[in-house]
């Protein structure tokens, strides 16, 4: 099996004493502790304003209700630039320039796409999708 680790470290002086939290997890297939996620799609795109785009398409039964993970980073540098992340047209949140997110994604039905729309200007996005498998679409 492949072993992929995801570490999150959060440091903050918002609290006294200061917060220093760190967590590492191994990206496993759903319901197992011995079989890691073995597939990854990764990319870099520029997202123009004006259209809500599908970033990741949920139309894949192999990953339905699994332990898939999605990483998205907004590489833009202008602090007023952001993208809105939606799933099946439900707004999840805004990812501003310099922000990243790491979420589980159940892709529970064919409509549960992860969608992205840019605001203020063309946003630069890096993404990675860790999953169990996918079927290729016939040409």
């Amino acid at each position: 099996m492949a072993t992929t680790t995801a570490n999150c470290t959060i440091n903050s002086d918002l609290l006294q004493p200061n917060l220093n939290a760190s967590k590492t997890s191994i990206l496993m297939k759903g319901g197992t502790s011995s079989d890691g996620l073995e597939f990854m799609d990764m990319g870099y795109i520029e997202v123009a304003t004006g259209t809500n785009f599908d970033l990741l398409n949920a139309d894949n039964a192999l990953n339905k209700d699994k332990a898939n993970k999605v990483y998205i980073s907004n590489e833009s540098t202008d602090e007023t630039y952001y993208v809105i992340i939606t799933i099946d047209a439900t707004v999840i949140g805004r990812l501003y320039a310099g922000d990243w997110m790491f979420i589980p994604w159940g892709a529970e039905d064919a409509n549960a796409d992860i969608e992205i729309q840019a605001y203020t200007g063309t946003n630069k996005i890096t993404y990675a999708y860790f999953h169990e498998n996918r079927t290729l679409t016939s040409a």
């Binding site: 072993t3 990854m40 602090e79 994604w105």
Partner: protein
């Protein structure tokens, strides 16, 4: 100004034929500015003791809409099959299995955009922290 940084490292030596080692660090700031986020719920734990029912973790109407809130979640269960189903406004995001964590941007887009958790078993515990814009 308070400074909060969140750093992620994704690493693998055998997922690809070449080593994966991706690191990204973000300073959590308020929407449209470079001013650091100034409020947080603090690091908390919630044990859902009442069976498999869905529980509202954060109510969308309690937070300013369309901001740059961030939510950290961690399932501290050690039983591999146990997961929390995370939803926003009744839309499934995904399953957070034992040992997994997530950092989710949350804009509290409207009053219905509650963040809810649904444990797959009794007596599961979630660790969480909301950074509030």
């Amino acid at each position: 100004m308070a400074t909060t940084t969140a750093t992620i490292t994704l690493a693998s030596t055998d997922l690809l034929s070449d080593e994966l080692n991706l690191t990204s660090s973000a300073t959590l700031t308020a929407a449209d500015t470079s001013t650091g986020i100034t409020n947080t719920s603090g690091l908390s734990r919630k044990t859902v003791t009442g069976g498999h029912g869905q529980y509202t973790l954060f109510d969308g109407s309690d937070y300013t809409a369309d901001k740059a809130h961030k939510l950290y979640l961690k399932n501290i269960s050690t039983t591999a099959a146990e997961f929390f189903l995370i939803t926003v406004n009744s839309e499934d995001i995904g399953r957070l299995y034992a040992g997994d964590w997530a950092l989710i941007p949350w804009s509290a887009h409207d009053n219905d955009c509650d963040i809810k958790i649904d444990p797959s078993a009794n007596d599961m515990t979630l660790e969480y922290m909301l950074f509030v814009d």
